[in-house]
Chain length 426, copies 2
């Protein structure tokens, strides 16, 4: 396709999505759940077909020199298929968010005013070469009554085409429009440029990928973007605290896994807690080869810990998302300094206070301006499944519309409903 053809193709895809959106929105709960159950069954039944499609992608990727985690992410094996199929089954079992009626109140004029939850309409999902995201996004679209347009990474195109075909079969068999879920079948990059700039067809864009990609999409999009930039998460150890608990939680927040966006990247310690806490956590980090980038006060205490990798922090360390066995460490004078530091340097993703002081816990909850704020828990809990959302389409570091882990509700909006008996405005 040349670029004119790509635009025309995307316009057709967009118009088809908009056309399917009304039927998706009006779909019965039973039909949506049936489509999800059928999809789960098809994913199991068509394993050989999916494996063959995936092998084409894997072979080409290997030929292009892809290796390690990048190649792993591309893999669609029996285990990952079983996981996404199980996700569809779980989603079918969840309550339908659409049609929920809330806050109905009688007004002095006689009318009753409330709100009804409805789908956003059409969402566009842009993601990298993880074919399982195709099913996750499609199943969330079905349950939330939205139409969606999926644009996966080009390395996974054969896998995604095979998966999308099963989704569309499941939709049709459940009496829903196949165009409720469409995959962009061209790998031309112009397709992304068009997808994010057609408000007449697409209501919201959800990108998943590196920070550079997401910043570019946000800058160029003509529709709202539910975006997740970085996760520079903080754990703050307060003056009054439970030492053994703080060690376990801080260790977990940093080292349980290094790569997730909710891992702690910066440790703040009250100066009255520093002498008791820092040498002990320093030992743990030393044993796990976690490098500590310290301010002067923290360095003075940590330098003596045997085997500790202690480095002077520079200004940029306070903003950095390492996603690696590195943590920045700072001693603060009080809770005010901790909150001010976090609100200045954090990416507004997730922050935790470890304290036994109730007023301080409440102030931290109120005043820290991040999507998730925790008391005495590991920042690693910031996750749609851990929060009980049932499914997660992404994490928003914005404040507008959805904030934090985004589940089915983030794909909906509330419209007002008014129930009258012939009332008029005076």
């Amino acid at each position: 396709m040349d670029s004119t053809d790509v635009i025309a193709y995307m316009n057709r895809v967009g118009a088809a999505a908009r056309g399917a959106a009304a039927a998706m929105a009006a779909a019965s709960t039973a039909a949506k759940n049936q489509a999800l159950s059928l999809l789960a069954a098809k994913l199991e039944a068509h394993r050989p077909l999916l494996a063959a499609a995936n092998q084409l992608d894997l072979d080409r990727a290997a030929a292009n020199g892809l290796e390690g985690p990048l190649l792993d992410r591309l893999k669609l094996d029996a285990k990952s298929l079983a996981t996404v199929a199980e996700g569809c089954v779980q989603l079918a079992a969840m309550p339908d968010p659409i049609g929920e009626i809330l806050n109905v109140r009688r007004r002095p004029t006689g009318i009753s005013v409330g709100q009804m939850r409805v789908p956003l309409g059409v969402f566009g999902m842009i993601y990298e070469s993880r074919p399982n995201v195709t099913i996750e996004a499609a199943s969330l679209a079905i349950k939330s009554g939205n139409a969606c347009i999926l644009r996966g990474g080009s390395e996974a195109i054969n896998s995604n085409v095979a998966l999308a075909r099963l989704v569309r079969e499941a939709l049709l068999e459940a009496g829903l429009p196949a165009d409720g879920v469409q995959l962009v079948e061209t790998t031309d990059r112009a397709a992304v440029g068009r997808l994010i700039a057609m408000p007449e067809f697409v209501d919201v864009i959800i990108p998943r990928g590196g920070k550079g990609l997401i910043e570019r999409i946000s800058a160029e999009a003509k529709v709202p973007v539910i975006k997740h930039l970085d996760g520079n998460c903080h754990t703050y150890v307060d003056a009054e605290f439970d030492l053994e608990q703080a060690l376990v939680v801080t260790d977990n927040a940093k080292t349980q896994k290094y790569s997730p966006c909710n891992a702690t990247e910066s440790l703040l310690v009250h100066r009255d807690a520093a002498m008791a806490f820092l040498p002990r956590i320093g030992e743990i980090f030393a044993r796990k080869s976690v490098e500590m980038r310290c301010d002067a006060a923290a360095k003075a205490i940590l330098a003596d810990v045997p085997g500790a990798k202690v480095v002077d922090a520079v200004e940029s360390d306070w903003s950095e998302e390492y996603l690696a066995p590195i943590i920045s460490v700072k001693v603060v004078a009080d809770l005010d300094e901790a909150i001010a530091h976090i609100n200045r340097y954090s990416s507004h993703h997730t922050e935790a206070i470890l304290t036994t002081n109730h007023p301080n816990a409440m102030r931290f909850l109120r005043e820290v301006d991040s999507a998730s704020v925790m008391v005495n828990a590991s920042t690693r809990f910031a996750d749609g499944f851990e929060y009980g959302l049932g499914a997660e389409i992404g994490i928003s570091t914005d404040k507008f519309h959805a904030r934090g882990p985004v589940g089915l509700e983030g794909l909906t909006s509330l419209k007002y409903i008014v129930l009258g008996q012939g009332e008029i405005r005076r």
Copy 2:
């Protein structure tokens, strides 16, 4: 100021707003309510000062040839001051939206997960020459814990400067930062261009004004915009209906006032209701000199009504917001056609069905894709005060974030809170 100076000035205003936002967010309910009460008292106490400032604006406007409603809107008389002061008193009496904690649930891991309502941060308000909006926006900012930057029409600059000074005095006397509410004191248009393009200082823009202005702001803004475009509202009279009630409601929806955005602009009538309903409503419209732009079926019935102004509708009539004694009229075959017509031509503001049929009422509520959907009530009810929001900063015709009348909650967002006892992620 030259344009470089304007940018530098707006950057100072922006930085001051961002600096004040944390204190506004953390402000106690008592301090916010005190600021509102003080402001109400000052508006009454300083009437002569405000009248003098307003007279400067009125004299210049008259000299520039402004007249009629435009001049009226600019007027800040005793009555309009009493109204905005009363608004401040009412807002002080409302519950504080900030700090509300919702949906706290214990998870299997032991953590409790909930949500806390917090301010958005800083909003920018761009409006025309109605000085009362300065107080409405400032008081909503105070109650919702946001900082705000106000940019009113240049014709009202002296009035706005005087009003903003009282707001800032009230903030200071209540122990809150004066920069919680700032007025842009230059009338240079470059200030608007900068205000809508500094995401580092401003979280959301709320424009009020003509459609052209709002479209331009939306196209150029680098932050989210809570926007209200037009109100092409529909009233649909179903096959089974209460004739006398339908006449009263339809009359009210169209003729109670012609200029509001929630007035009905298009009347749809089921073909089985047309012979009974159209001649009667046609008489009412004829008496009130409301022009009817009709499809062929409606025209055939209405043409015989004595004195009726009946005109052939053209395609563009179905999309038009008249804000005048004109209504488009169409006969439809069934509910499906009515819903399809509305979802195609409406501006997604407000639509009503007049019916005695329950399944049809429920389908209309579910399937009509507008911010407000009503059964047996006048579309004129679509309003923040009528809905019980207590105050209205605008009406959103978007689906993202806030939809329909936007009150205090539209200026807030929900962050997740996690309460633990040392839990870690396994």
